[in-house]
Amino acid sequence: MDSKVRADKFTTPEPAELLKHLPARIQDSYQRFALTGDIQAADEVVLAIIKDHVPTKKAALIPTVLTDSSTLIGDLGIDSVSIADALFVLEDVFDVSISNQDLVRLRTVGDLKIFLRSRLANKSA
């Protein structure tokens, strides 16, 4: 589904509302991305949303475990339902659509960052 077509048909929640529980610097990063298209700022938001879905018992490991090669399920302990929830937030925040076919290719943090970067690049193109 083309995100531009989709966005015309119905409204999505405001990103500010979806990110309000995250640290202020993440909300600033989103604003920077929204205003300037700064892709590194978008990466920071993506990482924050992933971290937010890491289960509490794994949270202490984030500083050492959260790298581009970290697997979402194996290293970070995010179950597939929580991955779906994280993707739902990412879809709303960045107004993109992630299909089931896309999902099976998203194993690591790096996969997700690269995927989002390409979607955002296509959107702005």
Partner: protein, 420 residues
């Protein structure tokens, strides 16, 4: 000797208190938990009162906006799939486990089961379906199903606590948690489980309560002190309420071996349906008569041995009438007049959670040695003649107690608890 089941733990999030001690005090002192509310910001609604859930703010779809006592340490991965009544249920179970001197580590070995009673979260169902419909089917929160459909309590709580025994949900409106209790007792008796946790919960939101106003089932009396008055001639409907109550039963030898504190024996149960109407109880209470007789039979006692009845009576004109007639048939006609009270005068009617809440009240009454009175009962309805309806709390310790429940579709349940 068949296996016995003992009540060993209670947890309360109720309009009349969020701890065992507060609930016992409210029951003894006849202190109600009903407050004035304005649903949906609409002052024109005729429903003005509800049995409120104190210390919690959880009437919105986003779990991040919820507030609850800091003593409950709930990880966000558990909160994410919960509905508001799931939050209440989890807190009630935490209390019940503490009360029974158990930890989460004690209940994951397969010997413990979990039965839940819930009508689902209409709040969250509406929230997620609104998004689904507005997006013409394209957008819906991934946790929409597990947080909102009627099995939401069992899905979330069994996963959170790692329960590997019997797990299930019961859906019979206001008889739901009594069915859950009865089936849990059967599992103990059959040797299938050593321990069962039973929990019932309701949200008390506009979405869960106001649909009953459309049925003309709710009181339009704006006075919190008199709106819920079961068996009173002036009663005009029930007062909705919510929260959660959890109750733990254990096989007697198993409980005694670990030195568990015992509230009461859960001694028997029975159920029978009216086969009459989708929502209205049988005018003569025939299904309830059968349910009570089956409960007495199951306990191997006769009606003369019951010395307190916690009635379902919700304060509706038709329901209380049917129950009064049923109690006359089983008790008064046999020459017995045990004290009868409906504690819904204090709590309002919390629907799915009513049965387990009142079972827990009966357990407290047995353990602490008192009989709750009929709060707000002023003019006893003529139809209640021959029934012993004390207004004030009696200091009499009850030995054998009957608790009744009736739900839509004419489901009736009797539960019997006995002093050990």
């Amino acid at each position: 000797m068949p296996r016995q089941a003992l009540v060993t733990g209670l947890g309360f999030i109720t309009p009349i208190g969020n701890t065992r001690a507060a609930v016992a005090q409210s029951l003894r002192e006849g202190r109600h938990g009903i407050e004035t509310v304005e649903f949906l910001g609409n002052p024109h609604l005729s429903i003005k009162v509800v049995g409120t859930i104190k210390e919690f703010v959880a009437h919105t779809p986003n779990w991040r906006d919820w507030r609850f006592p800091a003593s409950y340490d709930i990880p966000k991965e558990a909160l994410r799939g919960l509905s508001p009544h799931g939050l209440f249920a989890l807190c009630a179970i935490e209390q019940a486990l503490g009360d029974a001197q158990l930890t989460a580590a004690d209940i994951g070995d397969g010997a413990t089961g979990l039965y839940c009673a819930s009508a689902g979260s209409t709040l969250l169902a509406h929230h997620h379906l609104t998004r689904l419909l507005e997006s013409r089917g394209e957008r819906c929160g991934p946790l929409g199903v597990v947080s909102s459909i009627a099995g939401t309590l069992n899905f979330n709580l069994a996963a959170h606590y790692g329960i590997r025994g019997a797990v299930g949900g019961f859906v019979a409106a206001c008889a739901s948690s009594s069915h859950a209790l009865g089936c849990a007792l059967d599992d103990i008796r059959l040797g299938r489980q050593k321990r069962m946790i039973i929990v019932g919960a309701e949200e008390a939101t506009a979405e869960s309560i106001l649909p009953f106003a459309a049925m003309r089932a709710l009181s339009t009396n704006p006075d919190p002190a008199t709106a819920s008055r079961p068996f009173d001639a002036g009663r005009d409907g029930f007062v909705g309420s919510g929260g959660a109550v959890a109750l733990i039963i254990e096989e007697a030898e198993f409980a005694q071996q670990r030195g568990a504190r015992i509230y009461a024996e859960f001694a028997g149960w029975g159920q029978a349906a009216d086969g009459y109407n989708i929502a209205i109880s049988h005018p003569q209470g025939t299904g309830l008569v059968d349910a009570i007789n089956r409960a007495l039979q199951d306990t191997r006692i006769d009606s003369g041995q019951i010395d307190y009845i916690n009635a379902h009576a919700t304060s509706t004109p038709a329901g209380d009438r049917s129950e009064a007639l049923a109690l006359q048939t089983v008790f008064t006609a046999a020459g017995h007049t045990p004290p009868i009270s409906s504690t819904k005068g204090l709590t309002g009617h919390p629907l799915s959670m009513a049965g387990v809440m009142e079972a827990a009240f009966c357990s407290l009454a047995i353990k602490d040695g008192f009989i709750p009175g009929n709060a707000h009962l002023r003019d006893i309805d003529e139809v209640c003649r021959g029934l012993n309806l004390p207004r004030e709390t009696l200091p009499t310790p009850p030995r054998t107690v009957l608790s009744t429940s009736s739900g839509f579709g004419g489901s009736n349940v009797g539960l019997v608890f006995r002093r050990v």
